[in-house]
């Protein structure tokens, strides 16, 4: 199978791969049997890039990254490879992993107040990260913590360091989580629904802050969200997940202007808009299948308007689509639809260029 990541390796040197997830599979122990939640995910993040990951609940968008960081616990059986700058990090020992986590790769979550310890002051929690990853203690750590709070736009940093999480708003707590994530000077920040629990005006503040920090530090960002708007706004490249697989991946512009997979098209059509004339929403019928009850072929086939017999045979391969450089889709039908138009020869050339 051709892998999308190889494109980046062949591209300009600026697009060097930072993190590469290869054929990641996750099975959860359900007592009597294992249920596969992730069916071989391939994803690459280039240095300084923003990769958006979208999908509905249960599609595997969060567990992909939790598994990559070894955070899934003992009930999950993980196979596949995760490489950071070419070094394998899947299955390495806990000590090495904890140096990595919060150091070179940091993660922030949806609900900041449950990620922070309610009985410790903010300052102590940030200092902990500074001690672990940078070896800073005492006055040096305090000064650095104050600088970090200032960096994420919290005024009165020294006073705020003495406060507890409950004394601050949700937006403030998310800023503190981002400050803690920055403490280890990470190369990659994984943000799992970072603004879902926040109000619209606060969401705008946090998205602006993330953009600004990324521009200044050059860190890469993986933005996991169910909100297509947030992903469209922030990402360079987008991966759409469904039923434990990546089903489409493209540059943000290509994905939203020329989506290939019927599921991606459906998601975009199901979203009400704020501008333009009001139209009836196009909903996708049915619901997301449970991980232990996936259909035999394409997992989207039962809900798909253009599915036919061949969709039920096997899960379609993740192949290049159209004439874009980085556009991949796992759908048999979308390529047939496209075939008669002039895009077909270009696609053929593309396939020759792709190293097998």
């Amino acid at each position: 199978m051709r892998r999308p990541g190889l494109f980046h390796c062949n591209g300009e040197s600026a697009m060097k791969t930072l993190l590469s997830v290869k054929d990641l599979k996750i099975d959860f122990d359900q007592g009597k049997r294992f249920v596969r939640a992730l069916h071989g995910v391939n994803l690459d993040v280039a240095k300084g890039e923003v990769l958006g990951v979208v999908g509905e609940s249960g599609c595997g968008k969060s567990i992909t990254w939790l598994a990559a960081l070894g955070l899934l616990g003992s009930r999950a059986r993980i196979s596949g490879s995760v490489q950071l700058n070419g070094d394998e990090i899947a299955g390495i020992d806990e000590n090495a992993l904890s140096r990595l986590r919060g150091g070179r790769i940091a993660m922030i979550f949806q609900d900041p107040s449950s990620s922070l310890n309610p009985v410790h002051r903010i300052g102590r929690q940030i200092n902990e990260a500074l001690k672990l990853h940078r070896g800073l203690t005492g006055a040096a750590a305090n000064a650095e913590a104050a600088r970090l709070l200032d960096r994420v736009g919290i005024a009165n940093a020294t006073r705020r360091l003495r406060e507890y999480p409950h004394e601050m708003s949700g937006g403030m707590n998310q800023r503190i989580m981002i400050a803690m994530a920055l403490a280890g000077e990470p190369e990659l920040l994984i943000a799992d629904e970072p603004t879902t629990a926040l109000d619209a005006t606060i969401q705008a503040q946090i998205l602006d802050l993330l953009t600004e920090l990324r521009r200044d530090t050059g860190m890469a960002l993986v933005l996991i969200s169910h909100d297509l708007g947030v992903v469209a706004d922030m990402s360079d490249r987008v991966a759409v997940m469904y039923g434990g697989r990546v089903i489409e991946q493209a540059d943000t512009g290509t994905l939203f202007e020329n989506p290939a997979h019927p599921y991606t098209k459906g998601l975009i059509a199901a979203l009400p808009d704020i501008d333009g004339p009001r139209r009836r929403l196009e909903s996708i019928p049915g619901t997301v299948p449970a991980p232990d009850r996936l259909p035999p072929g394409c997992s989207f086939a039962p809900r798909c308007a253009i599915a036919s017999g061949e969709c039920d045979v096997a899960m379609p391969d993740f192949l290049p689509f159209g004439n874009g450089d980085n556009h991949f889709a796992a759908c048999v039908k979308c390529r047939q639809e496209e075939a008669p138009v002039e895009a077909a020869p270009a696609a053929k050339v593309k396939r020759v260029l792709v190293p097998a």
């Binding site: 005006t201 169910h226 059509a269 199901a270 009400p272 009001r278």
Partner: protein, 333 residues
């Protein structure tokens, strides 16, 4: 057309205790602070705002679930009070509610068909059990639930299906008014579209009026005939969705609208980012409550509470907009 629901200067203040100093102090939390609106029969009013702006409190006040501190709610010409007597129960029959969390609104130990038929049991006790089940099955069909799901329990259904059960139950008595408090916020995008389309279809078929509350501007625009934007317990702007969201006048609405990321706006929008958090409803700033975050606030904004001034069906509560408009009118004269 006459108004089905008329709300005038509705206020709800809570007495709260603030742990401050040695003994703390008493303060008044102004959850809703002077809200007026009207809904015509068969029309939908959308209410948007951030958390803590008083949207849900307004919904509870409208239904008479909690007493108002002052102000009046009139439903079909009769006042709605929080006195839960026979008069109120008769009114409640015509006013139903849908909440955000369907699992919390359903009884986990009853099959869904029984729950959908329950309103008949309460408001129409002489109805036979067979007819009740038949009516409930008809409702299930109307909201797109399969007959084989009738004997399922809420935990056996998906989030979207549960919300359909709640909608079916709310529509059982053919209410005139449906209050929807964040009905699709807990649902995935594809399911959200299903439920919004369902509500739209049912409204067309049965003609209920709705008070549609959401923090999501896109969803509110999709559903509403008129919209009102709330900030700290007051309506700051109201009008047609096209006017309010495409040509916002109030600085808060402008920021709110510009802050919505959508795929269509990718890369070509100017986001107005407001500084700071919304103030606590316990310490509402003097004058215009928004002046602490407003990018164009002037000294008059700090002292005087702006009134909601309507021109051509588009109402705004902002000194700068209204004085400006007045100046324009004067100049024209």
């Amino acid at each position: 057309m006459t108004d089905l629901l008329r709300v005038r200067d509705l206020k709800r203040h809570y007495e709260v205790h603030i742990p401050e100093g040695l003994f703390g102090r008493k303060a008044s939390l102004k959850a809703v602070d002077g809200v007026s609106f009207a809904i015509e029969a068969g029309k939908t009013l959308g209410l948007v705002g951030e958390s803590g702006c008083g949207k849900s409190t307004t919904a509870k006040l409208v239904l008479g679930l909690i007493p108002a501190t002052s102000g009046t709610v009139e439903f079909a010409g009769t006042p709605v009070t929080a006195k839960h007597d026979a008069h109120w129960r008769a009114l409640r029959r015509r006013m139903q509610m849908i909440y955000q969390d369907p699992l919390g609104a359903l009884d986990r130990r009853l099959p869904v068909v029984t729950q959908i038929g329950e309103p008949f049991e309460i408001h129409n006790p002489e109805m036979s059990a067979a007819e009740r089940t038949e009516r409930a099955s008809g409702l299930m069909d109307a909201v797109g639930l399969r007959p084989d799901q009738a004997m399922r329990y809420p935990h056996e259904l998906s989030g979207g299906q549960r919300q359909r059960v709640v909608i079916a139950r709310a529509l059982a008595l053919e209410p005139d008014l449906l209050v929807c408090d964040e009905p699709v916020s807990a649902l995935d995008v594809s399911i959200q579209a299903q439920v919004l389309n369902l509500l739209d279809d049912l409204r067309e078929r049965t003609g209920f009026a709705a008070l549609f509350i959401s923090h999501d501007l896109k969803v509110v625009r999709q559903m509403s005939d008129r919209v009102a934007v709330m900030y700290l317990g007051r309506i700051v702007e109201a009008g047609l969705p096209e006017d309010v969201f495409l040509r916002p006048q109030h600085p808060y609405t402008k920021a709110l609208v510009s802050a919505i990321p959508t795929p269509a706006r990718r890369g070509k929008r100017e986001r107005i980012v407001l500084e700071g958090d919304p103030p606590s409803p316990v310490d509402v700033p003097s004058g215009c409550a928004f002046h602490t975050r407003c990018p164009i606030a002037q000294s008059s904004c700090r002292n005087e509470v702006p009134q909601l001034v309507s021109s051509g069906g588009h109402a705004v509560a902002c000194h700068l907009v209204n004085d400006g408009a007045a100046a324009v009118v004067q100049a024209a004269e």
